[in-house]
């Protein structure tokens, strides 16, 4: 296999994994009928909480146990992101505030919280690193050494494979379990689900909070694996968060599509760096900006095509973006 191609894949898959977590969480949320535009904020919360917990633990203990450190980071990231989801849930489900506006406010808030407290940890430096990234990046010992195939298939940290497993698990959850089917019913038609005895509020709360937790892991993966454990004040996570929202549309709300969709987005994102050596074209700098536009353009095309065909299974959840009030109508 061409070495450029390998390098490209090794870039695309980790990048895709960040947005795959973001998108999987948002799929769970949107299946309940909640359109949470706070994904970037939630990914900030998760990324920062994970980094901060690992960093503080590392510096507090003389000989840190890195397994414990990884667990701590995962738990903290999940909980912090869930807290963001809880704010959103309380406002939109209990208080029936507008979902779009609440989500955007959550994005501002999450970005603010992460960068505000981040500056305290940075303590005057522009960037600081947690060594736990080595544990996150640990590859499979033998398999990752088996030539090109081993490198491209087994050459990543454990969270890459966990994301794939999660996507498969969610697929089974949505199609094969009672809870998953109930959740979809809540997102499609909450009044019918309510009449059938499904607790709409409970499903919406759980789906939104757990979905936020999963999205938060995307932020964690970005900071502690993709970015090699380096925290710096950045706007990068916000762009990734919106890309995750785009990916949800691209997958037409199906977790299995998120696996290849996210890698495709990653490949498109890094295309500009590898296209010259792959195809022998030399590109002027400004073309890279247009190439990075591709994921969004592709998403728009998918959005238009699915609305053209009107195939039931490709549509957004029917009550997406609407609050449910039992006494209405």
């Amino acid at each position: 296999m061409n070495s450029t191609l390998i390098a490209w894949i090794l870039r695309a898959v980790p990048f895709g994994t960040i947005i795959m977590y973001g998108a999987l969480g948002e799929i769970v949320t949107e299946k309940s009928g909640n359109l949470n535009l706070g994904v970037p904020g939630i990914m900030y919360l998760g990324g920062f909480a994970g980094f901060a917990s690992a960093y503080l633990y590392e510096n507090a203990v003389a000989e840190p146990n890195y397994l414990l450190c990884v667990l701590l980071a995962l738990v903290c990231a999940f909980l912090a992101a869930m807290a963001g989801g809880l704010i959103y849930s309380f406002l939109t489900i209990t208080l029936r505030a507008n979902q779009n506006v609440t989500g955007l406010a959550l994005t501002t808030f999450g970005m603010g919280v992460a960068n505000f407290f981040g500056v305290f940890i940075l303590n005057g430096r522009t960037a600081t690193q947690s060594l736990v990234y080595r544990a996150f990046q640990t590859k499979m010992p033998v398999l990752s050494g088996l030539g090109a195939l081993g490198q491209t298939v087994f050459g990543y940290g454990f969270m890459v494979y966990a994301a794939i497993a999660l996507a498969v698990a969610l697929h089974f959850f949505f199609t094969r379990t009672r809870a998953g089917l109930n959740l979809r019913a809540v997102g499609e038609n909450p009044a019918t689900a309510d009449a059938a005895g499904v607790s709409v509020a409970r499903y919406k709360y759980l789906a939104t909070c757990l979905g936020a937790g999963i999205s938060g892991l995307g932020g964690l993966y970005y900071v502690l694996d993709y970015n090699q454990g380096i925290w710096a004040t950045t706007g990068q996570i916000e762009a990734l968060g919106w890309l995750a929202v785009a990916l949800v549309i691209f997958t037409t709300w199906k977790p299995l599509n998120a696996i290849w969709g996210s890698y495709l987005f990653g490949a498109l994102y890094w295309l500009y760096q590898f296209m010259p050596s792959l195809l022998g074209w030399s590109l002027p700098g400004y073309v890279t900006d247009l190439i990075q536009m591709l994921p969004y353009v592709v998403t728009i095309i998918v959005l238009v095509v699915t609305s053209l065909h009107k195939r039931r299974e490709n549509q957004p959840p029917a009550s997406l973006g609407l609050a449910y009030f039992r006494e209405e109508r």
Partner: protein, 369 residues
């Protein structure tokens, strides 16, 4: 005994829709929300930094009102935010979720900059300004038209479509800036030598024109939505598309027309930002105002005068947080947190305007009355 049985089945708190609430009551709820939010923020400031919240708020106050120059800067930034809010009002009143203001502003700004660069030396000033204005309005309108047409024709989800259009616009701007700057590290001010396309200074500031336009548009869009036939059509489509159809309103046409208007006003904002404020362009020209304006427009319930108040509150917070940051060695991101908390409280307070909670047992008494 049967009565006891009935009440036992009732939940502790039941939520009932309010029929209406007096203007005084609405104002009271919102003021209470802002006050509670300020208390929550004070608690946050105290817990995190240990600073006296009142002293911090006083410092914050001076961020906007400290000097006349600061006040004028606050007004300049208020104009940009409020203009976008006003641009969004018609679309939101129609219940069309135009999340794409950021992109529409950028496209307007890009069109303005293009005209400035390529026609700055050849066209006389009045023609140049006319060309900048036309190009920006057309670019913004186009960016609004595309999702609206698909919405009207195929009912494509407009929230997601307009959101994606932002990033397409950002990348196009990044590409153009890259071409124009050449080998330089940044673009710098456009037409630095000739100052072609820069707004004239009035009262010592180039952005005075922006302030005049924002005042005029606040009144104009308010009247358009309240008194014009088209404004009425927008309201009907927003309340119920079926009613609109039954009344003989061509829903698709209203949707496309309103979004062209909304996008055009966003494009105009881009023109004012480039000509009157920045004299240059970057991917940060809209600076997130396109998203903040969504919150402004929604909270104001499409009333442009209320929008002015809410925009002022947000700009006040932003400037104040910047002031706190330099005074207490904190960082600017405090403003995002403080603004976020205030927005959460105001969003939550809407509930108490639209609904009321009924405690167990109290509902029945009301029926008997």
């Amino acid at each position: 005994m049967t009565a006891k049985h009935e009440t036992a089945r009732e939940p502790l708190i039941r939520v009932v829709k309010r029929t209406s609430m007096s203007a005084k009551g609405k104002l009271g709820v919102r003021l209470a929300a802002v006050l509670l939010a300020l208390l929550a923020d004070a608690a946050f400031i105290f817990l995190v930094t240990g600073l006296n919240p009142i002293a911090v708020y006083r410092t914050m106050f001076s961020g906007t009102f400290g000097t006349s120059l600061r006040f004028s800067w606050a007004m300049r930034d208020l104009a940009s935010l409020l203009l976008i809010g006003i641009a969004l009002a018609p679309a939101f009143k129609m219940r069309f979720w135009n999340i794409g203001a950021e992109g529409q502003v950028l496209m307007g700004a890009l069109a303005t900059a293009t005209v400035m660069i390529y026609c700055g030396d050849t066209l006389p000033a009045p023609l140049l300004f006319a060309a900048m204005l036309l190009a920006s309005v057309a670019a913004g309108a186009l960016w609004g038209f595309i999702p609206a047409w698909f919405k009207a024709r195929f009912s494509t989800n407009e929230t997601l479509f307009t959101l994606m259009m932002n990033y397409v616009a950002i990348q196009i701007v990044a590409c153009c800036v890259n071409i124009w700057r050449g080998q330089a590290s940044g673009l710098g001010k456009l037409n630095m030598r000739t100052k072609a396309g820069w707004f004239p200074q009035i009262f010592g500031q180039r952005y005075t024109i922006n302030l005049i336009v924002v005042v005029a548009l606040t009144v104009a869009v308010f009247c358009y939505l309240r008194y014009a036939k088209q404004g009425y059509e927008i309201a009907v489509v927003g309340e119920s598309e079926n009613t609109a159809r039954y009344a003989g309103i061509n829903v698709g046409r209203v949707v496309v027309r309103t979004m062209i208007l909304s996008g055009a006003l966003c494009g105009l904002t881009g023109f004012l930002i480039v000509g009157g404020r920045d004299q240059t362009i970057s991917t940060g020209t809209a600076g997130g105002n396109g998203f903040t304006a969504i919150i402004v427009a929604w909270l104001a319930k499409f009333n442009t005068f209320t929008m002015a108040l809410i925009s002022f509150l947000l700009i006040f917070l932003e400037k104040g947080a910047g002031e706190i940051a330099s005074a207490y060695n904190l960082n600017d991101y405090a403003s995002d947190i403080i603004a976020g908390i205030i927005l959460f409280f105001i969003l939550g307070s809407e509930f108490f305007i639209n609904y009321r909670a009924v405690l167990r047992g109290h509902g029945h008494q009301e029926v008997r009355k």
